[in-house]
Amino acid sequence: MKRYLVPVLIVSTLALGTAAFTQSFSVSLGLKQGPEQPIHFSHKLHAGKLQMNCLYCHYSAEKSTVANIPTPYTCMGCHRVAATDRPEIQKLTKYYDSGQSPPWVEVHRLPDHVKFNHKRHVKADIACQTCHGPVQEMDVVYQYSSLKMGWCLKCHRENLDNPKHPATMDCLACHH
């Protein structure tokens, strides 16, 4: 047994190293924890329990390359009256009154050399959850997908011949 130990160790280290170096995982490795946000906003409550449409707040996702982060103005549309006694809402009101945006912490970050177009994907009937995961179950939003190129390509490869919304593998589509 002992004489096999060294080769087994070497081989498994190499294999793991290669995997770590070259492969990404389409699901984060169990680190389903998002950053702490200035206001404890719960998607689980809004998108899950209250069944709000994603595009109600992130309205530019279907009109623009960029999905907007809602301004306090959007929030206050409801929270002028709703749940005004909660401390988090009072925090929000304070931001709103002082004319400032809460310093939200970015969860999904693409490198600058990737141009992702939200509009195209939303209009191709791809559910937000496909990439962002079950946001409606997340109390604190975390990065669900790896957002790596191989992960993007997986879907794009599968839909190359999609008759309605053909995907592309052309590099220029995202890198320009």
């Binding site: 390359t65 141009k115 509009k119 592309t168 052309d170």
Partner: protein, 1039 residues
Amino acid sequence: MSDSVVFNRRDFLKLVGLGAVGVAGCSQPAEKLIPYLVPPEDILPGVAYWYASTCRECSAGCGILVKTREGRAIKIEGNPAHPVNRGGVCARGHAGLQGLYNPDRLRTPMMKNGSAWQAVTWDEALKTAAAKLAGARAAGKSIALVTDNVTGSFQRLADTWAAAAGGTHLVYEPITYHALREANKRTFGVDAVPDFDFARANGVISFGADFLETWINPTGFARGFSAMRARPEAFFVSVEPRLSNTGANADEWVAVRPGGEMAVALGMVHEIVAQGLGVTGNHAGVADAVKDWSPEAVEQQTDVPAAVIRRLAVMFAKARPSLAVAGGVASQSELAVAMVAAVNLLNHVAGNVGETVRFDRTWNFDAVAPLSELQQLAGRMSDGSVGALVVYNANPVYAAPAWSGIAAAIDKVPFKISLSSMLDETSERCDLILPSLHPLEMQGDAETQHGVHSMLQPTMKPVPTFDARTPGDTLIALAHGAGFGTFPASWHEYLTGEWRSLSGRFGAGEEFDAFWDRMTKTGGAWGEPTGSTPGWGAMPAFAAPELRGAGDLALIVYPSSLLYDGRGANKGWLQELPDPTTKAVWGSWAELHPDTAKRLGVAHGDAIQVETESGSVVVPAFVWAGIRKDAVAIPLGQGHTSYGRYAKDRGVNAFRLLTPVQDAASGSVAYLGAKAKVSKSAAAVELVQTQHQRTQHDREIGQVIPVSALLGGARAAAAGGGGTAGVAAAGGDTAAAVGALSQMLSPMQSRPGLHTEPRVHPPGEKIPAHSVSAAEPELVVRSPRREPVDVGSYKHATHRWAMAVDLNSCTGCTACVAACYAENNIPIIGPEHMKRGREMAWIRIERYDEQVGGGRNDVRFVPMMCQHCSDAPCEIVCPVYATYHNPEGLNAQVYNRCVGTRYCSNNCPYKVRAFNFFDYSAPDKPTFAFAEPLNWQLNPDVTVRSKGVMEKCTMCIQRILEGKGNAKDENRELRDGEFTTACAQSCPTEAIVFGDLLDPQSRVAKLSHGERRYWVLNELNTKPGVTYLKKIQRDTATT
């Protein structure tokens, strides 16, 4: 890639106010932003909005559309609806953005404290200024207001303000049109600068007018000019001592002795009248007036052979309507009025007045003062009768001859206020600077052409880096503070008041607010041209100017086509764009004829000293045959002693060479009037050029087709019903056609042999889009097994993006290059690196002087960008697929995959790839090209490249993707021309056409299969996606 230089999200939120939208109205913008063609609604991040406005980079006042993203202006394009430019923008127009985001713009009001500048608050500054103005008025002194040619409502406000303040409003422009106005007053009885309809003319003779560069309205004229040149017979002859870039587009260059233009015009008149050509009804009394100017007599005075004058006269008279224009340096001499009058007479006898010379829509230079008025002001300043001076945008300390005495006079004024946004030479001498907003940030209007009321609207909220105000508000605040005149509360109120009076004429019966919104949205109001054609008035006296001075070379000081009179010098793009004539950047030069240079013992690039009685400068010599042996030419624009990092201490200020010669009639300064002494100098100067070869060494990069072959080919095609290009030309049995054929099929290009034949496509074969090219290689090595790839994304492609570049239209103006810099985040790298050939431009204009030196003129401009070859040599050699062929035929460059082997550039026969030798996008590096806030201009749709990667033309892939997305949103097919590349959009002559080659109805497909097509270096079988159209070569000598 390091996009960290690009604007970040937080800045964006601040700027568009999204971070605080609806917060108790406390940060409502002063003015509403009204986008062009889209309803003003919430501004979405990631979506581009367009605002109509007016370009204020020169006096022409082109209509522009400004593209904004995330609330910041990132691109300027021409407004196709605007009558001045009809869609084109020149390089200077594009560079307006670099004025907006100029890192050297003043950030706050500044007060001079001893010799140092001190930042002060607006309140404090206004209080001080108002007190000083009030003091000056109390002391019975006058107050002088000096501006550039502002026109429109601001002109009226300034006039009123100056009058109320007890002073004068002087409009100072270094380049003026006084001779034109004066001559028109004398000959036609109209004191105006007429419009010129180049498009209608069948032939143009220019007497020194650089109408494609700076003269009156270069962009608009270029559009008309290209329309004219599209007609094979329409000729253009340039009569000037130095071949300007306008002259470079001529079929013939008459290298006239400096100051001899008038004589040539009169010689032509003499001949026309003698032969009874033109409109004989206009000949009355003319023969007598020009009796001393027979072609033979003119030959004596001008070195222009009598035969040439006779030929030109006949050509000109027969090509009705034709057009003769007088301008440029030729019209800025001691006796300039006589010269312009002679050209007027020429137009008159040929019957062009009212046809191509139009007085129904005149140009507005009414308020511009000649130099003599500036001298008078200087005199008043010197004798102490001026108590305060207010300057806006004018920079007379730099842009006036030293002998005007303005600099010393300004120092004598007790208190000087500048409203400039830059610390230029004049502002530097002031005591207080109240920085003004950039025209792209402010509300206003302009009336550069009578009857064309253009709107200036703020295309973005003022750049927060700079604490500036609208000059109108500043003037009003000063008047209020000093207690003179009656003015409305704000400039906005004044402006709307002015427009209220226009609403009656241009309104569609709507409320004023609706009218105002419509005006801002569309860019202004302009009705049909009105006015009558004047008749011939008095016959003026004709006399040619005499050049004086100790030297033996006539000094020609001309405005630079990029820096103009120097106001563009602090814009990196304009410094880095190669001058269309010399391809020189970041400096000054003096042009010399090779024989003159030889006589002086000077080689190209050597330092020479040019000396007049007023001053002397040391510049590198630019030796070429495009200038007469008895002349030396220096461009204006450089030699700033302040004005910002890009302008300071670069080149020489040619205004300093001007001798005290003024137009006798108007008092404006004479740019042609001195003789200069030129000698070799030992000083170290450097001439940085982007192109060194003046000819193409028979390589047929830029090709021509003789007009005879073109007409012959058309006849043959009509007769035979088929055939294209050279083969068709051969069908014509004329000797000219055979000559054309031999010219097209040079030995280098065509060597058919046994082993070379084109691949035959079986009928019905489907060729994937990526491999389509209009090119028909003459040499295809047979490779029967080579099939286009038809898998993956390649399977479904339905477009093949391509371009057609018409060399017959290209005037070499470099507007496309500037547009590309703006659109594609191309960094500027400075002279040191330009010298080493590290230019980052994705498109360049190659210039080949095939025949220059008087007589037949053959200058070819070849816009050279990535050819997007179907069989691209660059792609094969990249080891990491950083460059590859995309399904829609584009040669793609993936920056983030590039490792920087530079092999692709080596293997590119067109040498159109630019390499990031340094980190131009890292703020901590000395090579950083986007000094804050220049980075605000960066296009967020285009990656900013980091060091060590190759980049090149993408055919504006971001626009292609956007266009395809729009079509998809609307569930329709793409329409030809619904989007185009930045270069094509900007081109004043529409020489570049972009589109889908697979759409047989597209303009590009039609042009690419037209008669004049060819492909650069086609013998290399690259199958380019860019088709060039041969320049039409007209031999005026036989026309």
